[in-house]
Structures are given as structure tokens and as C-alpha cells.
């Protein structure tokens, strides 16, 4: 094959994220040596052979290790306070995946935990601007950040049930952008509320229906790009308006190679 465009396409697709690639969350855990041994071993095997994940991991580590500039120290202190206050409120009640570091950190107290975690976010924020001005805008487009890999540590495609409302589709890695969200009926439910969310749980779109499926509007579907992980959740309400069931957050991602 001598078509330069085709060759270029081949090179691009060979270096793009695949459905086996790690999500940023997973890369973060991997970098922290968190998670179960079997999962880390799978990570070792994949990252060792995946140039894309090696690159992403390197950039994440670079992002995390940005030094705080003197001019940013005031902002850093402010962010430190805000984040620490927020985490003080969530950590005692937080249901966490078995992360030895975080567990140990809770035991040691907030200060120790955030000695490495608080100032770096601010540094990372500062670094973010540097990265952004370097072209993060387009750099991140394929990954959406977030090339995601199925993990045993959180909601996955294997979790067809969560709470007491069963999801039908989409869930896990899928071949094309979904047109409809579908779930199983819940006895006594008269209304369902649906939320589609980013990985940070920011709501992209929400709807309410009496049916057990809902169509995604075109403008929402346009935001579901390959290799970008999204979550969705359905809550069922009875005649009195009381919430009677929830699906929990269900993950899905359109394969990076989807056409």
C-alpha cells in the first residue's frame, strides 16, 4: 500500500487509545501502586507494551509533580483550605475502594495525607495552565481524557445491577454511540429520572420519563466521543414521589476504534 494518507491513518490508529488502554483514574491508581495485586499485574503487562499508556502515565506524573511558583503560593494556600475542608467532610463517611495508601492516610490524619496531596493539586492547577498553553486543547481530544479501562475497583461493565434497579444498556465498552438508554422496570415505579454524567459526575444531561427507556438527543450524543468514559444513573420514584430504586452509576465508553 503506497497511499500516504492511508499509511498516516494506520500510524495514527496504531498509536491511538484502544479499549484495553487505562483510564486516567486507573493510571493514577497504578502510579500510586494502589489496587489489588492482580489488577496491578494486568496493568504491568499492558503498560509495558502500550506506548500510549506509557505516554499518558508520564504526562500524569508530570502534571502531578509541577512545582509551585512563588507567585502562586497565596492561591495554593486558599485551595489547600478549600479542599481540606471538603475532604474533612467526606472522608469519615466515604466508602472507598481498598486503597492501602488512602486507608493508611486516614489513620495518620489529614495532614499527612495531604502533605503530598494538597499542594500538588494547586501546583497541578498551575501546571495545567502551562500545559494548556502548550496545546492541551487539542492534545487531549482523543482521550477525552479519559481513555478508560475496565477495572475491578469501581463500577464496571460487569455491574449490570447496582442498587436495585437493573440497567440493560449501554454499559461497559460499546461499539457505537448509543441512541437510547434502557433499563428494567421497577415494580411500583411511575417515574424514572435519568442522569448522564462525566467522570467527575458533572451532569451532562438529565431527563424524566415514565417509560423504561429514553432517547439521547443529538446534541448529547455528539458529546459521547470514542474513548471517553461516561456514567449514567437511573432512579425510580413511586406514586408518592419517593425514590424506591437506583441503578447506581453505570459506566460506559464508546470504543476508541468505533466507526
Amino acid at each position: 500500500m503506497s497511499d500516504p494518507q492511508e499509511e498516516l491513518d494506520l500510524l495514527k490508529s496504531s498509536l491511538a487509545a484502544t479499549s484495553n488502554c487505562f483510564s486516567i483514574d486507573d493510571l493514577g491508581r497504578y502510579a500510586d501502586a494502589a489496587g489489588e495485586l492482580a489488577w496491578r499485574e494486568r496493568g504491568d503487562a499492558h503498560i509495558k507494551t502500550c506506548v500510549r499508556c506509557q505516554t499518558e502515565l508520564s504526562l500524569l506524573q508530570q502534571f502531578r509533580s509541577q512545582e509551585v511558583q512563588p507567585s502562586e503560593s497565596e492561591a495554593v494556600a486558599w485551595i489547600d483550605q478549600k479542599v481540606a475542608r471538603h475532604l474533612d467532610t467526606i472522608l469519615p463517611h466515604h466508602q472507598h475502594v481498598p486503597d492501602p495508601e488512602a486507608t493508611a492516610a486516614r489513620g495518620r490524619g489529614r495532614k499527612t495525607f495531604f502533605a503530598s496531596g494538597i499542594f500538588r493539586p494547586a501546583a497541578a492547577l498551575a501546571g495545567l495552565l502551562i500545559v494548556a498553553s502548550s496545546g492541551l486543547y487539542l492534545w487531549s481530544h482523543r482521550l477525552g481524557s479519559v481513555p478508560q479501562m475496565k477495572t475491578d475497583l469501581e463500577t464496571t461493565s460487569d455491574n449490570y445491577r447496582s442498587g436495585n434497579l437493573s440497567i440493560v444498556a449501554p454499559t461497559g465498552d460499546i461499539g457505537r454511540v448509543p441512541a437510547t438508554l434502557v433499563w428494567q422496570p421497577t415494580p411500583d415505579a411511575v417515574r424514572y429520572e435519568i442522569r448522564l454524567m462525566e467522570v467527575d459526575r458533572q451532569v451532562l444531561w438529565k431527563a424524566s420519563t415514565g417509560s423504561v427507556s429514553v432517547e439521547l438527543p443529538d446534541d448529547v450524543r455528539q458529546q459521547i466521543v470514542p474513548a471517553k468514559t461516561l456514567f449514567w444513573e437511573v432512579e425510580a420514584f413511586d406514586k408518592a414521589g419517593a425514590k424506591i430504586a437506583s441503578s447506581g452509576n453505570q459506566r460506559f465508553r464508546v470504543s476508541a476504534k468505533a466507526n
Binding site: L15, D25, T55, L87, L128, S134, Q202
Partner: protein, 159 residues
């Protein structure tokens, strides 16, 4: 990359705000920096999609229809998959880590060479371009020498 620092700076500010507004959604499942990095990547991805959508509005609808119909058949897809796998192996085996990283950012993430140079702190005169040229040369040689690489592809693509 875009030649538009203002856009990049605006995006950076938006990420700050987004992170602040959605701080309540941070549950400690991952480190704060990982969460923040995810937000940044998602935000930039959304911005890029929006920008692309605006561009596509100017494309004739029938052209879009033509491009969205009929992907390759199963055999062609399989062949393509084999080529990709072979190329990945050659990239891994024949390039040094920095060359592979530059290639990944340039071709996989479609980042511009000057942006890669800044991002990776490359201080040599021609920055990332030097790594691309060197990687391409090595890759072309590796493809030529490879017995397993599918026929007809004997040269690495031009950047």
C-alpha cells in the same frame, strides 16, 4: 498547536472554575490530582468536539452521509488490525522511549510538534521534529526488515 494562546488560557481558567464548582463530586476514589487531570482532559475534549462540530456545520450534508455509511468489511478490519498490531510492535521495539512518546503525542493525540516540544521540555534546536524524523527513519528501516509486517507497507508515513 492552535497558535491561539488565548483559547488555551481560557480553557485553563474554565478548568479551574469547573474543578471548584464540582469539588463536591470529588469522592476520594482517586487522588485529587488524578481527578483534576481527568477534568482537564474532559474539558479540553469537550471544547475540541464543540469546535469540530462548528466546523462540520459548513460541510455539505450529503458528504457527511457518504462518509458515515459503510465501514470496511470484517476481512478488511481484521487485516487492518493485524497491521496496527505489527506497527505497534515495531514502534515498541525499534524506537527509544522519548521517540515513542513524541510519536504517540503527535500521531496518536494529534498534538502539534511545537506543543510537544514545550510539553516535554525538549531543548534541542528542532525540538520534537528531530525525534519524529529519527523515529520515522528507524521505523522505515524496521518495517523494511520485518518479515511479519503485512506486505505493501515498507515506509513509515511522513509527518
Amino acid at each position: 498547536m492552535t497558535g491561539d494562546k488565548q483559547t488555551a488560557a481560557d480553557l485553563g481558567q474554565e478548568v479551574f472554575l469547573k474543578a471548584y464548582r464540582h469539588m463536591d463530586s470529588f469522592r476520594g476514589d482517586s487522588k485529587f490530582t488524578t481527578w483534576l487531570y481527568s477534568i482537564a482532559r474532559n474539558h479540553c475534549s469537550n471544547a475540541r468536539v464543540a469546535r469540530q462540530a462548528r466546523r462540520e456545520e459548513t460541510v455539505e450534508p450529503f458528504l457527511l452521509d457518504m462518509t458515515s455509511e459503510k465501514g470496511p468489511g470484517p476481512e478488511a478490519r481484521l487485516e487492518r488490525q493485524e497491521r496496527e498490531d505489527s506497527l505497534r510492535s515495531l514502534i515498541r521495539e525499534s524506537l527509544d522511549p522519548l521517540e515513542a512518546q513524541v510519536m504517540s503525542l503527535h500521531y496518536g493525540e494529534e498534538l502539534r510538534l511545537d506543543s510537544i516540544s514545550r510539553l516535554l521540555g525538549l531543548t534541542n534546536a528542532s525540538g520534537a521534529k528531530a525525534y519524529i524524523v529519527s523515529a520515522r527513519r528507524k521505523l522505515t528501516r524496521a518495517i523494511s526488515a520485518s518479515k511479519s509486517f503485512p506486505k505493501g507497507r515498507r515506509k513509515a508515513p511522513q509527518p
